[in-house]
Subunit: 234 residues, 4 copies
Amino acid sequence: MRQKLAAEAIGSFMLFATVVGSGIMAENLADGNVAVALLGNTIATGAMLFVLITMLGPVSGAHFNPAVSLVMRLRGEITTPQAWAYVTAQLAGGIMGVWAAHVMFGLPVLELSTKARTGMGQWVSEAIATFGLILTILGTVKHRHVWVPPGVAFYIVAAYWFTSSTSFANPAITIARAMSNTFAGIAPAHVPGFILAQILGALAANVVAMALFPDEPVADEPVPNEPAPNEDAA
Amino acid sequence: MRQKLAAEAIGSFMLFATVVGSGIMAENLADGNVAVALLGNTIATGAMLFVLITMLGPVSGAHFNPAVSLVMRLRGEITTPQAWAYVTAQLAGGIMGVWAAHVMFGLPVLELSTKARTGMGQWVSEAIATFGLILTILGTVKHRHVWVPPGVAFYIVAAYWFTSSTSFANPAITIARAMSNTFAGIAPAHVPGFILAQILGALAANVVAMALFPDEPVADEPVPNEPAPNEDAA
Amino acid sequence: MRQKLAAEAIGSFMLFATVVGSGIMAENLADGNVAVALLGNTIATGAMLFVLITMLGPVSGAHFNPAVSLVMRLRGEITTPQAWAYVTAQLAGGIMGVWAAHVMFGLPVLELSTKARTGMGQWVSEAIATFGLILTILGTVKHRHVWVPPGVAFYIVAAYWFTSSTSFANPAITIARAMSNTFAGIAPAHVPGFILAQILGALAANVVAMALFPDEPVADEPVPNEPAPNEDAA
Amino acid sequence: MRQKLAAEAIGSFMLFATVVGSGIMAENLADGNVAVALLGNTIATGAMLFVLITMLGPVSGAHFNPAVSLVMRLRGEITTPQAWAYVTAQLAGGIMGVWAAHVMFGLPVLELSTKARTGMGQWVSEAIATFGLILTILGTVKHRHVWVPPGVAFYIVAAYWFTSSTSFANPAITIARAMSNTFAGIAPAHVPGFILAQILGALAANVVAMALFPDEPVADEPVPNEPAPNEDAA
């Protein structure tokens, strides 16, 4: 369990440092073209997610996200104390990641964001974004285990662009981003709305996934849970 | 079958929301540089396609596209009633996805596009784009099952750029995009030309694939049909 | 053999249409920022290469490039008449792909490029680019068969940027690009210099590969040619 | 051993030529938008890393980086003389790669950079960047061998953006980049600070990895050290 919590903390540290740090870098360099800045932010975040889930998935499951830990608790994969410990590690590691990004870019360590992110459009965005994220995880974990890292990474790449909120989809990162007055920030007053929408989206995905992905392999699929027995045994 | 239709509807919802939503986001932020906007739109669409085909391929085959369902019907993989049910689910889910994008970005839910997309160059583009898409699916499904998700995703990434129409290659998304007066839209009057070209391209690909990809493994390849024996054995 | 030649022709058609078509699209939209245009051109080309090699590799080996066919002839993988037939199919299919790009974008079908691409820097670029391409193919084909499609695709993605010539690395595409007065073009007078440099680079790579990649697995590697015995046999 | 050193030299040649060459290309074309230039530089570097590690990993382990060779020496994977030979090959091949980039772009072969890269923010960046790189390698090599090439490539893609130093994370490339007065350069006087930070980060990662990734499979993991059977059976 100590290894699992260390993995959650280190992974959240690297992930949140990447989200905030690449946002700072991108905004600094993009010469006012916010789409270019978002491209840099997107590519960095997606790439880091792939790395962290690949590397730390076998240790802790690579949640880095209280919404994921909540769903895993509901599904009985972890206990309630484990879930709380996971969330604590995610928040502690992740906030240190935000601070590390500030140090790397020569900004004050302690900040609060002033960036407004609120309103129905953004809340719907967060609900849909988190719904899709949880559905992706539950769908790929069951039948296509090996594709979880690129699945989650590519999902977030898409979600940064198709939602008006740029898809936080993670209560811990929402809190941590409130502590950075940079590209990726969110004003503290707008954090609760985001987190509420995220939890609703996650719960909806859990229900849909139960209906959509049955425990048993789909009947007319020959060997659905053996996606690639010999990947390149040339 | 109910699961399959739910998968088609949910997948089309997420896919069409991504195409339209990322187009809105990209155009809003790109400061008038349309190539930058198209980069954002491309990356989001390709990433989401990878996720949805990976996740929902084992459930429904992950068509999300009446041109694909048509070809699968012609090849006897599904029955005629199944094909119609698939197309209905794709349209219903997909149009709701477009509307969800409008809600997320604070636009009127009901719109009609005014964007002209017509002429010989665009029709040839749609025919070639759909030809390539169907050929990609039929070629990878048979011999390299595991590569279907990245194959289709990367194909669309390329097709957004090498065709003058930005490669709709999907009758359902063509109809749905007529209902959005945004970056990804198409004027309703120009929808029939696109759909006709798409169907012609799909039919041509089906004929070519029969000649190009024989049922038996190609003789002088060491283990050509075992790069990934059972990706999602649809 | 007829299937192989059809695969080479269709693959070259799609590849060359992508290179030229995405160049036209990118230049049209990039608002004068050539780096943005090259990003679009790069992503489209790399994505299409991945698709075509995945789909057509099991049929013809997916050369689409006389420099590759030359090296395969030198290594005894194909006969001399086969090599000539391959090159003919590549040129015929590829030139039709360039013409198709012109039709899609409403340009005159028949054009000659006026774009100067010459000088020692560009020739060294073509030699190094083709050296790296052939080395990538020979290195991955032998020990990591399954990674050939992303290996070649990512190699070209990198080579578009690290060479001053943007890495044609293919005599057939060099000839075909001379027939397009667009972003990807090359003046006919400068074609021979490019092709000569490409052949020299290819021959050098063939020699280096013989020394670098022995027929037998390297001794002290645990399972060097089985990178992923059971990719995800869950 | 001769093959291994040749692989390290050729790989470093191609990698460093890519880092420097794509930087020159990107800056030349990006019309003053440094974020666009960094996107081109990032994509080229990540793509080339994937190719080289895939191709040369089975030969030499694909270090291309003295920090990696140092950690492999500490872990007893190679001997001290081997480590020195690796580092020599990396530096010799890599510097020739930088010079090749200069030739390709028509610049003077011999240059020294005048670009200032110094200060606490940049040193912390290099330490964190190298820490993450080594952790990625050690974490994926042990449990998910097949994902080392995309893992390292994507890690560097992210690190180019989330650190203020753009993540050199490699003492050999730091020295080589001091010899290029271009986008990727670093003033010679600032090299020692970077290298010191990189070594500290690498050593820290080695310690953390021993605790985080035990030699034995994690208890409640079905088959965690068989890189792929259960991709991330959390």
